[in-house]
């Protein structure tokens, strides 16, 4: 390979470039304009050691000559400083390399272990790196491969045979995981999932990084993942629509940064082999100050005492196989693992199984059942069985299991066995953190981790593997760390970069392992439970879940809360154990479980389909069993499952009602077409604006409800990837309107919302108020039309008329003050009538619920949460579980706001506070709060709503929503809520 070096910098010296990324180290040597050596190795966090080794390996090349060196890469800075070598930022190196090797390149896409970058060359150099939230690409693919239980190579091969692509949230790894898990559990094929994962990476790069700038011309792809994964390449080329000669995958793809660093090094000092190795050796002595924590155990004795104490919490699990009689089977089909427990009439365990479900829980359970039948023969009789967990429905259907119960109930049942006075249960599994408080023998409050802080248990696993250890070995390493690193709490992605920082600073594997355990614990305590003192958790704490089998995690937890807790010896099997206990308590006449021969011959196939029941187009997974059983999953309502309801069986649903109201506003022919994007603040004010413009003779075009497709249409112009999903959808709505050839688009800036006299002020949140400003600055396509975003005062008819006249008369003929005044009057009247319709329907729903004895749920969100793409059918799910659903605005018209400990200054949120008060005052009413991920305002409101509800001894349930469509988790929450209500006798 010839290096085209315009500055001719080789000057007879060799150039050495070292690139240290998050997981790998690369080295490149250039001599006389030629790349004479390159090598690539995983460094397993031993950055300095590995670099030295790699340099020593090429002693033959370097020794005896003089050369210049530069270091690059995200983990290279610390080493470069310690070894006194020049450092160059990696994006800069890449640009340097491409300029010299392929000068006609228009854009570069580079994916590394944890970074994604795009460099635009043509039309002004512009370099972009992923933001702090969007991390993880190579590491993300690794994690996903682990989840699918395939190697990276296998995943790549699989992806090439895909049939269809599923939508997978692309913002960050944790979200994607939440999307993938249900797909796996529902039986989608690995090939399709693999390709969908790659597509998510592509969408993330193209959408999150390019941010409105089109990627075209000659595009070069660099970095490990793009070098190895053909499937990923294929998705990129397909998505960017590149011709063969415009998609460049150079053979030096892995070494671009190292080559760039080498080229950059020519201005550095000249040195020899001896000097370089000496400096590298010196750098290993140099240890920078890392923020560290006290060790987990003072000494061996403390450790021994700890082990002994926990050994006491045991259920008998050793049986010689001589048991005869009735048994009860419990299955916990979790998100990543499947657990089975068989117990005797004395609750002794005679059989357990715990394993990764390998992406196919049905075959795992099938094998296990066969084994149980065959091992125990006629000694035992399965009297009853129960299943819990993500895969509950699938397993129940497949094997005719007697009961299905929600996970939280299963765990409580099991914990009670170990401590009947337990008042707090914390379960950290592979994907979920669940915790619940027990008060007077029933579940009092349930906290599940939100999509953001999930993935903790399996995070340790993935990390252990990436550093070349098994989980057990990795955990053991952590137990005796002298100085655990402080890695912070937030999400996986942030932890990744904290680890990177620690590696940079030379922390050992032991210290990182202990640090990770502590992070998991802190995450659970402070992010999920949000506790401040141990007393807040409870007096009698039972901890469980696979992650607590890790002694380091257990120890960290006890140290953090300063209290001893109970960890049963079957901590990882508690769900299954609880299910077995449940089956024993509720045993039917006879168990319906499939007998051995039918288990053996069970065959299961799954295919995907799209539901045509409504416009929502849910993606269904149809599981077909050879005994003619069929299970449909992925549906958001009963229609997908093929059930038809009679009219009088339909429960009132204010969300659906409000959607129907919005849809009833149709365009009338007019002189001009004006487009109203149906997003954010437009939802509630649609009747107002629609009426005003119709009165003024406009043809009002709405953009309709959001869909995933609509989102994708606009995703390329979203400048801030951490803004809430409802705001991101706005871009798609604008594109949709533009496609319809409107003469103007209208989305006003409303600092102040409608004043309902319910608070200290009546603001909109900053995003709802000013999103137009952002659209104007970032959507080039808006230049094709007139974009009207006046600042309006909607609380004053006269003022509104004046302001609207001012704006509209600038752009359209025949707009007079008088005509606008009339239109505004009509608009406000229509808005009031619209709200009245909602209040009336709210009353009807409440009455219906009271007459029929149904539970009432206030699904408290904001007006735009009725959008089917935003609430993901949660309203329908709630009605399918037997709730009458009302919205926060439908029942609070004459509700005084409660006493608050915060400033009540946003109109939409004032209604939520009032709704919380309503729930407190009515026994049959529950409040479930919908929170958009990234909603800063809700950081204030959620705590306050919870306080109000708890003051009224009500259960607080919060559902965080984003791009994700994981209804499974929501279903667990709602079912747990029902379970808790039933226990409370409500």
């Amino acid at each position: 390979m010839k290096i085209n070096d315009p500055k001719n910098r080789t000057k007879g010296n060799m150039l050495v470039g070292i690139d240290i990324g998050s997981t790998t180290a690369k080295i490149a040597v250039i001599d006389d304009g030629k790349l004479i050596y390159s090598r690539y190795e995983r460094h397993f966090s031993q950055v300095r050691q590995k670099t030295l080794e790699m340099v020593e390996n090429i002693a033959g090349i370097l020794d005896g000559s003089s050369f210049t060196v530069a270091v690059s890469g995200s983990a290279g800075l610390g080493m470069a400083n310690a070894a006194r070598l020049s450092f160059v930022q990696e994006v800069y190196s890449t640009a340097e390399c491409v300029r010299c090797l392929q000068p006609d390149t228009d854009a570069v896409i580079e994916l590394g272990g944890e970074d994604a970058k795009i460099i635009f060359f043509t039309g002004g150099l512009d370099e972009r790196m992923n933001g702090s939230c969007a991390g993880g690409t190579g590491a993300f693919i690794d994690q996903m491969a682990t989840l699918l239980n395939v190697s990276n190579t296998e995943m790549d091969e699989l992806s090439l045979t895909h049939q269809q692509i599923y939508p997978i949230a692309s913002r960050c790894g944790v979200f994607a995981k939440t999307d993938i898990q249900p797909l796996i559990n529902q039986g989608a094929t690995k090939a399709d999932i693999a390709a969908s994962i790659y597509q998510a990476v592509v969408n993330q790069t193209v959408g999150g990084l390019a941010q409105g700038r089109k990627i075209d011309g000659k595009v070069m792809f660099l970095g490990g993942p793009l070098y190895y994964c053909k499937g990923l390449r294929e998705r990129f080329v397909h998505t960017l629509n590149l011709s063969e000669e415009n998609a460049v995958f150079p053979e030096y793809g892995l070494y671009a940064v190292a080559i760039g660093a080498a080229l950059y090094s020519e201005d550095s000092e000249l040195m020899g082999y001896e000097e370089l190795t000496k400096r590298l050796k010196d750098s290993m002595k140099h240890k920078e100050t890392v923020s560290t924590l006290p060790p987990l155990f003072k000494d061996k004795n403390e450790y021994q005492a700890f082990i002994k104490r926990h050994a006491e919490n045991s259920v008998k699990t050793e049986y010689a196989g001589d048991y005869q009689g009735d048994v009860y089977l419990g299955i916990d089909c979790g998100s990543t693992t499947t657990k089975l427990v068989v117990i005797t009439t004395d609750c002794d365990i005679i059989y357990t199984y715990y394993s990764s479900n390998k992406g196919n829980p049905v075959s795992v359970v099938q094998k296990q059942l066969t084994k149980i039948y065959e091992t125990f023969g006629d000694h035992i009789r399965i009297r009853a069985c129960a299943v819990t967990g993500y895969g509950e429905e699938l397993i129940k259907k497949a094997f005719h299991i007697d009961f299905g119960l929600v996970e939280t109930m299963a765990h409580y049942t099991a914990a009670k066995y170990f401590d009947k006075d337990v008042d707090f249960i914390l379960d950290i599994g592979g994907q979920d953190i669940k915790c619940f408080k027990i008060r007077s023998n029933s579940i009092d409050s349930i906290m599940l981790n939100e999509a953001c802080s999930s993935g903790c248990g399996s995070f340790i696993e993935t990390f252990a593997k990436s550093m070349g250890y098994t989980v057990e070995e990795f955990a053991r390493q952590g137990l005796f760390s002298m100085a655990p690193v402080d890695l912070g709490t937030r999400c996986t992605v942030f932890m990744n970069s904290s680890v990177k920082q620690a590696q940079k600073d030379g922390a050992s594997v032991q210290d990182i392992s202990a640090g990770l355990s502590l992070s998991v614990v802190k995450n659970a305590i402070y992010k999920v439970i949000r506790a401040t003192t141990p007393d807040e958790l409870g007096q009698r704490i039972v901890v469980q879940g696979g992650t607590f089998m890790n002694d380091a995690v257990l120890r960290c937890f006890e140290k953090e809360i300063g209290r001893e807790v109970v960890r049963p010896n079957i901590a990882g099997l508690m769900g299954a154990f609880g299910a077995a206990l449940y089956a024993k308590e509720h045993q039917p006449e006879e168990s319906a479980i499939l007998p051995l021969d039918e288990v053996k011959t069970l065959r299961h196939k799954s295919r995907s389909a799209v539901c045509k029941g409504c416009t929502n187009n849910c993606r269904l997974t149809v599981n077909i069993f050879n005994n003619k059983d069929v299970l449909i999953s992925g549906n958001q309502c009963e229609k997908g499952a093929g059930i038809k309801l009679r009219d009088d069986e339909k429960l009132p649903n204010l969300y659906a009602f409000k959607r129907d109201l919005i849809e009833s506003y149709q365009p009338q022919k007019g002189r001009y077409k004006i487009g109203l994007p149906l997003a954010l603040g437009m939802y509630e004010l649609y009747p107002l604006w629609h009426t005003i413009f119709t009165h003024l003779g406009f043809e009002v075009i709405g953009s309709g409800f959001s869909t995933r497709k609509l989102y994708q249409k606009g995703q390329f112009s979203i400048p801030s990837d951490t803004v809430c999903y409802p705001a991101k959808l706005m871009h798609g709505h604008i594109e949709t309107l533009l496609e319809q050839g409107v003469d103007a688009v209208f989305y006003p800036c409303l600092t102040y919302n409608i004043n309902e006299n319910k608070g200290d002020n009546y603001y909109n949140c900053p995003v709802v108020a000013y999103y137009s400003e952002l659209l104007q600055g970032n959507m080039d396509s808006l230049q094709k039309t007139k974009f009207l975003c006046p600042y309006l005062n909607i609380n004053n008819e006269k003022e509104l008329s004046r302001e609207l006249t001012q704006t509209l008369s600038k752009h359209f003929d025949g707009i007079t003050k008088a005509s606008v005044s009339r239109a505004v009057k009509a608009g406000i009247a229509e808005y009031r009538a619209h709200m009245q319709r909602i209040y009336d329907e709210g009353k009807r729903a409440v009455q219906f619920a009271r007459e029929k004895g149904k539970r009432l749920m206030i699904l408290a969100g904001r007006p735009y949460h009725i959008d089917p793409e935003i609430c993901h059918g949660i309203d329908k799910l709630a009605t399918s579980l037997g709730f009458v659903v009302v919205s926060e605005d439908s029942i609070t018209a004459d509700m005084e706001p409660p006493v608050l400990g915060v400033l009540n200054q946003w109109t939409y949120h004032s209604r939520m506070y009032a709704a919380a008060r309503y729930a407190c005052e009515h026994d049959d009413t529950q409040l479930v709060q919908l929170v958009s991920f990234g909603c800063g305002v809700d950081a204030v409101t959620t705590d306050e709503v919870r306080t109000i509800l708890e003051r009224g001894s009500k259960l607080y349930t919060q559902i965080k929503i984003d791009e994700i469509t994981n209804l499974g988790a929501v279903r667990i929450r709602l079912r747990s809520l029902i379970g808790a209500l039933e226990e409370r006798g409500q």
Binding site: S74, C133, T489, R490, K500, T532, T751, N793, G901, Q905
Partner: protein, 417 residues
């Protein structure tokens, strides 16, 4: 709108006598000067300069973790100070600012009270420092002369910060700039008990003396280092605690940091009163008052600007806010008034007009107004000002310095090439 509010502990007249009021570090120079004004009016005030324990950690413990980072740090700092053992927990009060805008920052004080309650210090009074009469405390009132003095402190602070930032990268004896800042902070404190400090002529004289001193450090040294502007959410922009010592990092990288002043933020708040009337015809009296106040502040700012341009040509002078505010026309409306709002865009444009084309836009992770006025304005800014090099950096308790520094380094490599 009488809305029932949970009762809060008031700061009573009796408390004024022997309670110590703790003031968090928001703007290191300015807040210190401003708290000195309180001291000279008989309050016992302690401006928290030292960092007690792990502030982030206690913030995370007592505040909702999705709340903005500044709230977390301010509250963490106050609680740690209360627990430090330096104060009698029954004789201490806390002070926090409150703006009353549509941004969630107006809720800091409530979050602080909640946090105190959680930590078991529900009895500690929290004083709101605001200019909108959001809350009243019988033992704490800002009189006109006090406000007047605070105002001068803001100007002193801006002048010192502005000149210090331009001296530091070029100082010959390490630390001499910081020593000078310290010297003047103490001097202004000593003065504060004299009545003469109120006289504008005296203040003007001080401006010259301060400027002369800084001028001695810089002298004729050409300010030839790469300049990097820092804009953003007010706390992370100014507070080293909030931005992981951004300024010293930049100094180490051999560049000159340029930080637009605090007075601009005050002027922006005042100016919004005018805009509100202009757009919505609301609160005409407030608008009238704002107009007066705006002109008054502006004249004071212009005085310093003119002084700098006339006598200290080697320094980049203080901005003229009336010019700054006009720059946003065609980019963003001045109706965008929550948080830093349009000021953020205006400051970036102001920097660009001064030739500072490398800009770091700082914000707490998930800062709502900055989605619009910060990240949302980068595209048009870059398009209409070719060569502008902006990077947005998010700050939050989980973000690591390496991530932030790596991105800043990329920006710097571009700045240098």
């Amino acid at each position: 709108m009488a809305v029932a509010k949970a009762e809060y502990v008031k700061f009573t007249k009796e408390m004024k006598r022997d309670y110590t009021i703790l003031v968090p570090t928001m703007l290191p120079i300015h807040f210190k000067l401003i708290s000195n004004v309180l001291v000279s009016y008989g309050y016992k005030v302690d401006f928290l300069e030292q960092v007690d324990g792990n502030i982030k950690e206690s913030g995370l413990r007592y505040v909702h973790n999705d709340t903005c980072y500044p709230a977390l740090l301010v509250i963490g700092q106050l609680i740690n100070a209360v627990e430090s053992g330096r104060y009698d927990k029954d004789k201490v009060a806390l002070l926090i600012t409150q703006t009353g805008g549509g941004c969630r920052a107006s809720n800091y004080i409530y979050l602080l009270r909640k946090a105190l309650k959680k930590a078991g210090y529900g009895h500690i009074p929290v004083i709101s420092l605001n200019f909108n009469m959001l809350e009243k405390h019988p033992g704490f009132s800002l009189t006109l002369p006090m406000l007047y003095r605070m105002l001068y402190c803001a100007f002193y602070g801006d002048l010192m910060m502005l000149m210090a930032n331009q001296c530091r990268p070029y100082e010959k004896r390490r630390g001499e700039t910081d020593r000078l800042v310290k010297k003047w902070t103490n001097k202004l404190l000593d003065e504060s008990s004299h009545a003469s400090t109120m006289r504008y002529s005296h203040v003007k004289k001080n401006y010259r003396l301060i400027a002369d001193d800084f001028n001695k450090i810089l002298g004729g040294t050409p300010r030839d280092k790469v300049k990097v502007g820092i804009v953003g959410e007010i706390y992370v922009k100014f507070s080293p605690l909030g931005n992981n010592n951004l300024e010293s990092f930049l100094l180490k990288e051999g560049v000159e940091p340029v930080v637009p002043g605090f007075v601009d933020f005050c002027l922006y708040c005042v100016y919004n009163g005018l805009v509100d009337y202009d757009l919505y015809r609301i609160r005409p009296f407030k608008a009238f008052g704002s107009k007066f106040l705006y002109r008054f502040l502006l004249s004071k700012q212009r005085y310093i600007r003119n002084m700098m341009m006339e006598y200290y040509p080697n320094f980049m002078p203080m901005a003229d806010f009336d010019e700054t505010q006009k720059r946003v026309h065609g980019y963003i409306s001045q109706g965008t008034k929550m948080g830093e709002g349009w000021l953020l865009t205006a400051e970036m444009l102001e920097l660009i007009s001064e030739g500072v084309t490398n800009i770091i836009c700082t914000q707490p992770f998930g800062c709502l107004p900055n989605h619009i006025a910060g990240k949302g304005m980068m595209k048009p800014l870059k398009e209409r000002n070719p060569g502008v090099n902006i990077v947005a950096i998010d700050y939050d308790p989980g973000a690591t310095a390496i991530n932030q520094e790596n991105r800043i380094k990329l920006m710097l490599s571009n700045a240098r090439s």
